[in-house]
Amino acid sequence: MSPRSSSITVAGGAIDILSDGEGPRLTILHRDTGRSGWTALHEKLARHFHVVAPSLPGYDQSERPDWLRTVADLAALAGLMEDRLGGPSGAMLGLGFGGWVAAELAARSPARVSRLILHSPMGIKPPEGEIADQFLIEAEDYVRLGFTSADAYERERAGEAGERSLRLDRNREMTTRIAWKPAMFNPGLRHLLQGISVPTLVVWSTGDVIVPRSCANAYCDALGGARYAEIPGGHAAEYERPDALADLALDFLGC
């Protein structure tokens, strides 16, 4: 079974979308390395939900809004995209950087998000440790840093067709344009999150060397009653531990 490819235009820019499955909508927002494909995580969740996996504006095949300067504005575009998809508001699963985008969206328009799942989210300045500085290492080395298993990394890399280095570079450029300084966080976000009551699950991978645990904990603190869980593996959980992450998500979403 392969996902359906489509495109919708939001604020003048085309957003590339993969989708599959029936049921309530679950939008999955990708990491800063982009959406390299339809993973086992997507597939498993699509057995229960209508899974929508966009490439965020400026990432992969989606058009770059040259004016975009902040992740908050990127989240606003993601919110407009949700509106365009229609129907009742759906759940969102944000992976790493995508978790930051989902949190910004929920903080600004909580009515657009029914439930929030954040895996190793960036976006809050970690009280302890730091978010790894991807800009000091090569783009492919940054992808590799997300894996604790060399085999899983090689499988992910081998699974991608097309010009991977060009795609990674384009995605990194978009991240540079909107998250260079402060490096991968928004000082205001944790304050905004205190004002919302969207049911949230925060998951952190114990082998994650890109986002420290304190960052995930800071999300739980800001969000009050958020549920917290840990899984093994590195930052790239959708490749290393898709089942573990999917099981937690499905349980949280009542499946």
Partner: protein, 408 residues
């Protein structure tokens, strides 16, 4: 022909072994061999650097006495190969310690400035203090400079263009006025310091490869200074420059062409070769300029241009290879004169920047090389320059820019 003296002002006390070792205090991204950007400044000793600064500044005075027409200065950050972390500071020192030479900034790293009006003020002060001897070159600055200054590399070129426009306006249009740009916003621009030279100090643009920057220089009629490029690349650059110049309505000549060359002279060839090896300290065997993502971070230029630039940086790094390519000119005065004649005939620059001393070459050897150049090399180069008609912009009262014509 204008002949200028240049040194990077390396921190020559750096121990190479430290750069090849990992240390407990290292940045998590550091790997053995990384000797810029994240190589710890624990290895920098200000007591030693204080002496090195004094020696380099004395060498500038001696270079003026020896007959050089200019002192070229530059700026780098987090870099053992260059102790000048603020070009305007060293330019001010040269302005105070010399009387005649041009102070040639190659160049002011525009995008790293968050307030280019301050740069307009500082350069105006230097121009006035030096009696109008400033050449205010401008650069985009390398990738590592963006990271070291935490300036977003994705907007490097946009910031370069906008900072340039703001700088020129701040120099030339009386204030107060307001600037609400894309990357710069200034509530009031009204610097109480404006340049002595009118309409403004000469602006030169140095570079190594970027097509867009060459085009920028040519469109503005700014001289372009090739930084130690190969003869083939230099000719390619001039062909591009000349073509754009023709489109812009002027005929480019030697007054628009500068060339920086490493040129090591000694009274014996053996000694010259020994001294020249010190150039490898920073440009090959030991010190590179960092990794591809530092040299040209994502967004700094196009993917294709950056891939090309990384390859360029790796090419022809061996000592012998550089001598063979002529990018490292080494020998006795007569040998060096012959090689430079070939360069001048092939590429016809009106401005020649000579870079004799680098690496761990000590003060005594540096002074000796400067004196020898003054006695035996500069007079011959001047004769060749006259013979080949290699005039610099000052000799023929070249306007400072296309916009500056009729405004002199």
């Amino acid at each position: 022909m204008l002949i200028s003296y240049f040194t990077e002002q390396p921190y020559s006390a750096l121990c190479s072994d430290d750069a090849w070792t990992l240390h407990p205090f290292d940045h998590p991204a550091r790997r053995p061999g990384d000797n810029t950007l994240i190589h710890s400044n624990r290895f920098f000793d200000p007591v030693v650097a204080s002496r090195l600064f004094a020696e380099r500044i004395r060498e500038y005075e001696v270079a003026e006495e020896a007959g050089f027409d200019g002192i070229m200065v530059n700026e780098h950050h987090n870099a053992p190969y260059c102790m000048q972390s603020r070009i305007t500071v060293m330019s001010s020192v040269v302005a105070a310690r010399t009387k005649r030479v041009k102070i040639i900034q190659l160049g002011n790293p525009l995008p790293t400035w968050d307030n280019p009006v301050q740069l307009a003020e500082e350069t105006a002060m230097i121009d006035m203090i030096s009696g109008g001897r400033l050449v205010a070159g401008i650069v985009r600055a390398g990738g590592a400079e963006q990271i070291a200054n935490n300036v977003n590399p994705a907007f490097n070129r946009e910031r370069f263009h906008e900072a340039h426009d703001l700088l020129i306006k701040a120099w030339t249009v009386p204030g107060p006025w307001r600037w609400e740009g894309e990357h710069y916003q200034q509530r009031i621009v009204n610097p109480w310091a404006v340049p002595l030279q009118k309409p403004h100090p000469p602006v030169w643009v140095p570079g190594i490869s970027s097509k867009e920057t060459i085009e920028f220089a040519a469109r503005h009629r700014y001289p372009y200074i090739c930084l130690n490029t190969t003869v083939q690349d230099t000719k390619r650059i001039w062909a591009l420059y000349d073509g754009i110049a023709a489109e812009a309505g002027f005929t480019a000549g030697p007054q628009h062409r500068g060339y920086l060359v490493r040129c090591v002279v000694a009274d014996t060839e053996e000694k010259a070769l020994r001294n020249a090896r010190e150039h490898m300290w920073m440009s090959g065997e030991f010190a590179g300029f960092g990794r591809p993502s530092w040299i040209a971070p994502t967004g700094y230029s196009s993917f294709e241009a950056r891939s090309g630039r990384a390859a360029l940086d790796r090419a022809g790094r061996s000592f012998e290879g550089q001598i063979e390519r002529g990018t490292l000119v080494v020998g006795t005065p007569s040998q060096v004169i012959a090689k430079l004649r070939w360069w001048l005939e092939e590429t016809r620059p009106g401005m020649l920047m000579l870079w004799p001393n680098d690496g761990r070459l000590d003060h005594e050897n540096s002074l000796e090389a400067i004196a020898l150049m003054g006695e035996a090399v500069l007079p011959a180069l001047r004769d060749i320059g006259r013979e080949l008609g290699l005039h610099d912009p000052f000799e023929i009262a070249e306007p400072v820019s296309l916009a500056g014509i009729g405004n002199m």
